[in-house]
């Protein structure tokens, strides 16, 4: 099977001017300007198959958005090869742009002053969508995102979440085969985040679209992505199934214990993470989980006990922290 997205040894470096603070340095920089090369993305490779939904994770400045911009054709790579749907995105052929969409959570393309229904009409003209297909897709999306009462209101009168839903409809009216989503739920409340996740999942399943998603909200990633690519300082740290990320990077489990006497010292069983009334959470190493569980049950009167994997947020956090420390 041919990959929808194929990235091979991709690097994107920027040359940025740099100088010390102060007037003297400012004057000196007029004559002798110094530059520093920033390696936003440095030699990364991956393939994404048709219909896959892949989470692209990393802290701020890791290179996620830069990679997305290279894939969508906004930026030219410094080196390496990129192929999306058989096209070189950097050449930005119209045939390519008609099949992809880039949605950025904090950017908008719909007219601020007009109802979305008018801006959707412009999208129809831009993508040359046949009228019947356009109307059907638009109405389907409006139903799916429950926007019927909002499409006739000017965009400026909508809430952030409502605006985002409109932006997503506008970006997908041409039914792109590849969807680049950059923080699509940023700043939204949990209900709105969930609604957008359900919509993206529905779109992926209905049209078989390939989705590459960046998000700082792990709930987005857990709900949508089986596979994740973790990137840090422009390098790939992990590429595989989300469940394997937990296995590979988390050597701990979290035990939740409810005790009749919460004042008992549990530090000999593991690291006490929280204490909330009668409920205590402990972090124990994976290797000793069964042994510690057995000891707790035999030594103490336990009302309730749960064993859970480390939350994915903590795993990701520990991946980045360990990378920083090993530098």
């Amino acid at each position: 099977m041919t990959s929808t997205i194929s990235v091979s040894n991709l690097s994107k470096h920027y040359k940025v001017p740099e100088r010390e603070g102060g007037l003297k340095a400012a004057v000196a920089s007029l004559i002798n300007r110094k530059y520093r090369t920033v390696k936003a993305v440095d030699d990364i490779s991956f393939n994404i198959e048709p219909g896959e939904v892949v989470g692209f994770l990393g802290p701020n400045g890791a290179g996620k958005t830069t990679t997305l911009k290279v894939l969508s054709g906004l930026l030219h790579p410094t080196s390496g090869a990129v192929n999306v749907l058989g096209f070189d995105p950097a050449k930005r052929p119209h045939a390519y742009l008609r099949q992809v969409a880039l949605v950025m959570g904090n950017r908008n393309q719909l007219s601020w002053d007009l109802p979305a229904i008018d801006s959707f009409e412009l999208q129809r003209a831009i993508y040359n969508i046949p009228t019947s297909e356009f109307k059907q897709t638009r109405d389907d999306f409006i139903d799916l995102l429950e926007l019927k009462d909002l499409v006739n209101k000017p965009i400026r009168n909508l809430s952030l979440g409502e605006r985002m839903k409109m932006e997503i409809v506008g970006a997908l009216l041409h039914r792109p085969k590849v969807l680049f989503l950059d923080e699509p739920t940023i700043g939204l409340d949990v209900t709105m985040q969930r609604r957008i996740r359900v919509f993206v999942k529905e779109y992926n399943q209905r049209w078989g679209a390939t989705v590459l998603l960046t998000s700082h909200y792990m709930a987005d990633v857990e709900a949508l992505c089986k596979r994740v690519i973790v990137i840090h300082h422009g390098h790939t740290l992990f590429d595989g199934e989300l469940s394997n990320l937990v296995t590979q990077f988390s050597s701990y489990k979290t035990l939740g214990i409810t005790l009749p006497d919460p004042d008992i010292d549990l530090s000999r069983y593991g690291e006490v993470l929280t204490k909330d009334g009668a409920r205590v959470t402990l972090r124990v190493s994976k290797a000793t989980t069964s042994q510690v569980t057995a000891s707790l049950l035999s030594d103490l009167q336990v009302d309730d006990l749960t064993v859970e994997d480390t939350p994915i947020d903590d795993v990701i956090d520990s991946v980045f922290t360990s990378t920083e420390e090993s530098k």
Partner: protein
Amino acid sequence: MRRYIDFYLASMKISILEQIQYSMANYFYMIGMITEPVIYLVVWTTIANQQGGTAGGYTAGGFAAYYIIWTLVRNMNIVFTPYGWEWRIREGRLSMELMRPIHPIHGDVAFFAGWKFVVILLWLPLAAILTWIFKPTFHITWMEALVFFLAIWGAYLIRTILLSLLGMITFWTTRVSAIFELYFGLELILSGRLVPMTLMPLWVQNLSNYLPFKWTFFFPIETLVGTMTTSQLWSGVGMQLLWIVSGIIILNIIWNFAVRQYSAVGG
């Protein structure tokens, strides 16, 4: 081709809808803009009257005709500026526009073309008031009216191309204001915006023949106000066409370099 026509019509409709929402703001903007030609008009009418009725071949009525048509041509000359380019790069709007399978400059041309329809409607009562006050002299033939119609759209395209070329400097440096001010100064003198070109020294008039500015102001105004022959009228349209075609070629060449420079800093 049908696709482009559809896109232009849809964009122009969006622009008209947006501008109608701000019709009062547009009106005040236009009233402010009319101050400039009214000052020129009062000054030159006074000079003409002091010199026995004419100055540089223009009567008081001739000056009135020149500057009233000036207001329409000026409105037609409003295009997406380099400041706009700065804004759209800084705000990340250009990234969104670059993701569309249509060149962003088509979007600019279509949007401002739509705006003209609203602006012309708003201009009509102002032109009527200026006509009532200053009593312009017009002797317009059908041929001149036809050439004027073509010339104002030609002027619009030439100025769009020129300011887009200036705006594209923002791909290399994020501040172009200083260069724009320099351009504006040259345009003021060499286009006929400040005074009719025939009032300028001969060397300035000769120089203006080799530059695009006069085809965006002086030529369209003169098609209605001046005494050009049929051949002069059509060769003027030909010159506009020449500037448009060369401009598009240069724009395409620079665009190809510019997008490679694009760093999508604003998103």
